[in-house]
């Protein structure tokens, strides 16, 4: 256990103690799992009839896969939108023009402090009633709320990526005769983007998770289909577990890719890569927030 700062390398006696505690711990896990499964079985939740719906091709073809397709479609649109939004406002915040800088700062800080759900509920009514878009208005509400929130987070990622580059990069750019803007565009932002890639992928996990909030405004995504399908059959519990499993598999894969990328990229360029942790739903905000285990939006943090 040399990985831990808290513990010494164990000697023979400590190793024996650890082994004993380990066996006890394993027994506790088994007991816990058995308690959950037995408890569910006692309530009649482990009957095959409750679960076999999710082994049928029809369930997947008619409900879960179309739902998943909608989830992925909304997430993909939101990802593209937030990267564009993030690029525009991230570069805007790096501008030396006080007006552009100020406007972009206010927009980014505002959208990071407002709950995503509040935006989804607002856009749902705003798009359907005020803009009178009738087709797919729920999906567009989810996409626009996700773009505004996650776009602001991406803007902060880009800004902190540029700030974390060594000062020499910009100085070298200016020394060879580039203007401030050219140096930003040609030298700094490309390196910042590479360094921020893992954190960006971590943000995709947030987008995918937050797309499930569309359930509240009846956007027909995966969770919504899982719920409507299972309600008449009385196996909502089982449906929620299956839907959660689908989300976990996709998000876990994305997180793993982010971790591998951050390891690979750390040898490339001069920007510091940050591990892309799966951040929170409607993740952290605030004036000088730092993503948990993730990127630092402000450079001067301890």
């Amino acid at each position: 256990m040399s990985s831990s700062i808290l513990f010494d390398t164990p000697g023979p006696r400590a190793r024996r103690n650890v082994l004993v505690i380990n066996i006890v711990g394993a027994l506790v896990i088994v007991a816990l799992l058995w308690w959950i499964i037995a408890g569910l079985a006692a309530k009649g939740q482990m009957e095959a009839s409750q679960w076999d719906d999710f082994l049928k091709a029809d369930t997947w073809m008619d409900y879960l896969l179309p739902g998943l397709a909608n989830t992925l479609k909304a997430a993909a649109l939101a990802i593209v939108g937030s990267v564009l939004f993030g690029l525009v406002f991230g570069i805007g915040r790096l501008s030396t023009n006080w007006l552009i800088n100020g406007v972009c700062s206010v927009v980014v800080e505002f959208f990071r402090a407002v709950p995503v759900l509040l935006m989804i509920v607002f856009f749902n009514i705003f798009i359907a009633r005020t803009l009178e878009v009738s087709s797919n208005s729920a999906m567009w509400a989810v996409v626009s709320a996700l773009v505004f929130y996650n776009g602001s987070v991406v803007a902060e990622l880009i800004r902190s990526g540029v700030h974390n580059l060594p000062k020499g990069q910009r100085e070298a750019g200016i020394a060879i005769g580039l203007t401030r803007g050219q140096s930003l565009r040609i030298v700094e932002i490309p390196q910042a983007l590479v360094a921020m890639l893992p954190a960006l992928i971590g943000q995709f996990v947030v987008i995918l998770k937050d797309s499930a909030l569309g359930y509240i405004i009846s956007f027909n995504e995966l969770l919504f289909y899982g719920r409507t399908y299972s309600s008449p059959n009385g196996n909502v519990l089982q449906a929620l577990i299956v839907v959660a499993a689908v989300f976990i598999i996709i998000n876990f894969t994305l997180s793993k890719i982010a971790t591998i990328l951050s390891r690979r990229l750390s040898s490339r360029g001069v920007g510091k890569t940050k591990p892309g942790a799966a951040a929170l739903v409607g993740g952290p905000a605030g004036l000088e927030a730092v993503e948990p285990g993730g990127a630092k939006p402000t450079p001067d943090k301890p």
Binding site: P115, L240, L287, P292, P302
Partner: protein
Amino acid sequence: MDNYLSIFTEYNIPGALWVNIQLTFFAAIGALVLGTILAMLRISPVASFAAIGTSYVNIIRNTPLTIIILFGVLALNGQLGLNLGGGFQENFFRLAIMGLAIYHAAFVCEAIRSGVNTVPLGQAEAARAIGLAFMPAARMVILPQAFRGAIVPLGNVLIALIKNSTVAAVGSVSIEASSVMKDMLDVRADIVIPIFLTFAAGFVIIVIPVGLLTTWLSKKLAVSR
């Protein structure tokens, strides 16, 4: 203008935000307790304990909060008959707190762990070199530095929790901000944008002091290295 101001007399907007603060308060306590236990499991040298902590974090962190809260209401309460007491509303309120605490505990665990990771290995070696045993070294040298390193990430979890408390709307808590805003938007389609901006401003006012406080605390308590 009068048209807009009437929403304050017709609806109790501060009251709705107060519900979110209450949800946040109780869920934060639950998440802190559960998250600290998980962090202890994850950093322990016992492989099976660490496995419990790691699987909890990996499963919960990758699940949408919407599903976790919905699970409390539809599966635990609806299908299994779990009742946390109190009246009808009170039960949903407590279930929502439970869901929020379970979800954010995974992030609290990671925040505390990242705090431990900020302590350089040399500190532990120095503590051993001056003859401190395991417990004194942990108590006097490593944990005080670890907690200081965890302030910023913990503050971020708290800010996220404040915003995520609106997701309690999925769990049939109909008196919190996003549900009240939805009711208002349904009725007052003429002033959709002012209503949204009012609620958004409410959250900005709650969130920004917390952000400033954690920044101030982390600077004040920073370990200079």
